[in-house]
C-alpha cells in the first residue's frame, strides 16, 4: 500500500475505534451495556442488523464465490424478506413484551431452566465458532496486503477488537455499525465503478453481460429439485427461510439488536428495512465477483490467488512443475483474451459469435483445469487442502485499485469485520452472563459486578474466537463455513422457539428432548448424507416440532403453570 492508502486507512480505522471508545462513556449498568437502555430507533437498529450479518466475509467470501460459481448464492437470501414479516408478526412481540435480556431467557419463562440453558449453550457454541471465522476474514486481507503471518494477524486483530468491545457495549456497537454499513454501501459502489472503469475502452455494459453469460455466471435462479445441489430456488426459499428465521429470531447477536428498540414499532421497522434492502445489496456484492470474472478475461489473473501458498510451492522441490503450469496458464489466458476481444468486436459489428464463444468456453475450461491442477500440487506440497476463493477479491484490490481508493476499501473491509465481531462478542457475553453466570452462580449481584463480569466474558470469547480462527482457513469458502456451522444448530433452535410461540400445549420435556433429538438428527444428516446444508435447518426444525408435538401435554400453557425465570 502507498503512503496515501496508509493515511486513509489510519484515519478511518482510528476514527472508528476512537468512536467506539467515545460511545463507551454511555454505558451505565448492565442494561446500558447489553441493551442500550432500550431507547434506539429503527434506522440505527436496521443498519446494525444489516451490518452484523454483512461483515468482511461478505466482501471476501461472497465475491470469491461469485467469481467461481456465479450469482446462484443470491437464492440463499431470497426468503429473507418473508422471514422478516414472520419475525415481525410472531417473534418480535413476544421478545419485546417479555423484556428479556437474551432470547433464551424467554425459554425458561415458557418451559424450564434446562431448555433455556441448552438453547443458550448451543448458541454459544455455534456463534463462538462462527465468530472465529469472522475474525479470520480480515486476517486474510492483511496476509495478502502486507505479507503478515495469518496467525499473528488474527491475534493482533482480535486483541484490538476485544479491547474496544469490552469498553463500548451495545450502544457503541450499534452506532459503529451504522457508520460501517454506510461505508460498505460506498465500498460496493466504488468497487463496481473501479471494475467497470478498468475494462478496455471498447468493452461496454452489454459486452460485460454477454461475457458473463457465456459461462452462465449471471444465473441466479435454479429451479431444480436436487437436494444435493447447494443453491436452488427451493433450498433458498425453504431452507433459507428456516435459516433466516433461526438466525434473526433465535440468534442472540440479532435478537439483542431489536431488543434495544424504544418501542415494538421501532423493532419491527428495523427488520422491514432489512426486508427491502438486504437482497439488492447481496446482488450488487455478487455482481462484483462476476465482474471480476469478466475483468480477468482481459487482464491476466494469477493462476493461484493465495500468494503465500504460491511462495510455498515455489520454494519446494515441485517448483518446476508449478512453473510449467503457470507458463501454460499465461499462454491459455492470452488466447482467451484474444478470443474475448474478438467477440467484443464481433458483437459491435453484428457478426457471427459462435467461433469466438466456442473458443472462450474451451479456454475457460482449460484455465479451470490448470487451476485445479495447481491446487492439487499445492495441496501435495503443503500436506493440506488448498483453497484460494477468499483471496480473489483482495488480490484484485492490491493489483489494480489506485492509491487512496485501496486504503478506503481495505479500511471498509476491516471496520466492517470488526463491527460484526464486536456485535457477536457482545451477544456471546450477554448469553454467558445472563443465561449462566447470573442464572446459576450469582443471581443477586450489583450492576457494577455484572458489568465487570460481562467485560471479562467478552475477553474470554475473544480468546476462544481467536483460537478457532487459526483453523478457519481449512474450511473453504468463509461465507459458507459460517452458515454451515450455524445450520447444524439453527434448525433445532428455531423448532424450540416455534414450539414456545405457537404450541400452547407444548411441555418443557417435549421442548428439551425435541431440541436434543433435532440436534442429533441434523448431525446425522450432515455426517451420513449428501443433502445440501441449507436443508439442515428444515430437518432440525421439523424434528423438534414432531417430538414437541408428540410430547405435548393435556392442557394449554398458562401463566400460573410456569415459574418465572428469576
Amino acid at each position: 500500500m502507498s503512503a496515501v492508502d496508509w493515511v486513509v486507512f489510519a484515519l478511518y480505522f482510528g476514527g472508528v475505534v476512537g468512536f467506539a471508545f467515545y460511545q463507551s462513556r454511555k454505558n451505565v449498568g448492565i442494561e446500558g451495556f447489553f441493551l442500550a437502555n432500550r431507547r434506539l430507533g429503527w434506522g440505527a437498529i436496521g443498519l446494525s442488523v444489516m451490518a452484523t450479518q454483512a461483515s468482511a466475509i461478505t466482501y471476501i467470501g461472497t465475491t470469491g464465490q461469485a467469481f467461481d460459481d456465479g450469482m446462484g448464492f443470491v437464492q440463499f437470501y431470497l426468503a429473507q424478506p418473508i422471514a422478516m414479516v414472520i419475525l415481525c408478526v410472531v417473534f418480535v412481540p413476544f421478545f419485546y413484551r417479555a423484556k428479556v435480556f437474551t432470547a433464551y431467557e424467554y425459554l425458561e419463562r415458557r418451559f424450564d431452566a434446562k431448555t433455556r440453558s441448552l438453547a443458550s449453550f448451543l448458541f454459544l457454541m455455534s456463534r463462538g465458532l462462527a465468530t472465529g471465522i469472522v475474525l479470520y476474514a480480515p486476517a486474510i486481507v492483511l496476509s495478502v496486503i502486507m505479507g503478515w503471518d495469518e496467525t499473528l494477524t488474527i491475534l493482533i486483530m482480535g486483541a484490538i477488537t476485544v479491547a474496544y468491545t469490552m469498553m463500548g457495549g451495545i450502544t457503541a456497537v450499534i452506532w459503529t455499525d451504522v457508520v460501517q454499513m454506510l461505508m460498505m454501501f460506498v465500498g460496493i459502489a466504488v468497487a463496481l465503478i473501479m471494475l467497470f472503469s478498468s475494462l478496455p475502452a471498447n468493452v461496454g455494459f452489454g459486452d460485460v453481460l454477454y461475457i458473463g453469460g457465456i459461462e452462465n455466471m449471471w444465473s441466479s435462479i435454479d429451479l431444480s429439485w436436487d437436494p444435493t445441489n447447494r443453491y436452488t430456488l427451493w433450498s433458498g426459499l425453504i431452507g433459507g427461510l428456516f435459516l433466516s428465521l433461526a438466525y434473526f429470531g433465535t440468534d442472540q447477536s440479532q435478537v439483542q439488536r431489536y431488543l434495544t428498540a424504544s418501542s415494538l414499532k421501532q423493532s419491527r421497522l428495523s427488520l422491514i428495512f432489512n426486508a427491502f434492502f438486504k437482497v439488492p445489496m447481496q446482488i450488487f456484492i455478487l455482481s462484483i465477483g462476476v465482474l471480476l470474472y469478466v475483468f480477468y478475461h482481459f487482464e491476466k489473473p494469477p493462476l493461484v490467488f493465495h500468494s503465500a501458498e504460491v511462495a510455498q510451492v515455489e520454494a519446494s522441490d515441485r517448483a518446476a512443475e508449478f512453473a510449467e503450469l503457470q507458463a501454460q496458464h499465461t499462454q491459455v489466458h492470452g488466447l482467451r483474451r484474444d478470443a474475448t476481444l474478438g467477440l467484443v468486436d464481433a458483437r459491435a459489428a453484428g457478426a457471427d459469435l459462435s467461433g469466438f464463444q466456442g473458443d472462450i468456453t474451451r479456454f475457460d475450461g482449460e484455465i479451470e483445469n490448470l487451476r485445479t491442477s495447481s491446487r492439487e500440487l499445492i495441496a501435495e506440497v503443503r500436506g493440506s487442502s488448498s483453497n484460494d476463493v477468499n483471496y480473489i477479491f483482495p488480490s484484485y484490490l492490491i493489483t489494480f485499485v489506485p492509491a487512496g481508493v485501496l486504503g478506503l476499501l481495505i479500511a471498509v473491509i476491516f471496520a466492517a469485520a470488526m463491527s460484526s465481531l464486536d456485535s457477536e462478542l457482545t451477544a456471546l457475553s450477554s448469553a454467558t452472563v445472563i443465561d449462566f453466570y447470573q442464572r446459576y452462580f450469582k443471581p443477586e449481584a450489583t450492576d457494577a459486578h455484572y458489568l465487570l463480569v460481562s467485560r471479562i466474558a467478552t475477553l474470554a470469547w475473544g480468546v476462544f474466537a481467536a483460537v478457532f480462527a487459526l483453523y478457519a482457513g481449512r474450511l473453504g469458502s468463509l461465507i459458507e463455513a459460517v452458515n454451515q456451522v450455524g445450520s447444524i444448530f439453527y434448525g433445532s433452535l428455531l423448532g424450540v422457539f416455534l414450539l414456545a410461540f405457537m404450541v400452547k400445549r407444548a411441555t418443557a420435556n417435549g421442548a428439551f428432548f425435541g431440541l436434543l433429538t433435532g440436534l442429533i438428527s441434523v448431525m446425522a444428516v450432515s455426517a451420513f448424507t449428501d443433502i445440501a446444508w441449507l436443508w439442515y435447518n428444515v430437518v432440525g426444525t421439523v424434528i423438534v416440532l414432531i417430538v414437541g408435538l408428540a410430547m405435548r401435554g393435556p392442557t394449554e400453557y398458562s401463566d400460573s403453570a410456569t415459574a418465572p425465570a428469576r
Binding site: L78, R97, A98, K99, G213, K265, G358, Y557
Partner: protein
C-alpha cells in the same frame, strides 16, 4: 435492572401493542399492507431474477 415481574410471554399481545396493527406507516395505511408489500416485492424479485437468468444465459451461441 429487570422488571419486577415479567409479563406472561405466551398470552396474546395486549391491546396497547396490537393497536399499532392498523396505524398508518407513511405510504402504508397499516402494518398488514406493509407486510403484503414485502411479500409482493419478494415475488417480484424472484421473477426479475428468473427472467435475467434466462435472458443472460449465453452458454449456447
Amino acid at each position: 435492572m429487570k422488571p419486577d415481574k415479567p409479563a406472561d410471554p405466551t398470552e396474546s399481545v395486549p391491546d396497547d401493542e396490537t393497536a399499532d396493527v392498523d396505524e398508518s406507516l407513511g405510504f402504508f395505511p397499516s402494518w398488514g399492507s406493509l407486510y403484503a408489500t414485502v411479500i409482493v416485492y419478494t415475488i417480484g424479485l424472484v421473477i426479475v431474477l428468473y427472467v435475467l437468468t434466462r435472458v443472460l444465459d449465453h452458454s449456447t451461441p
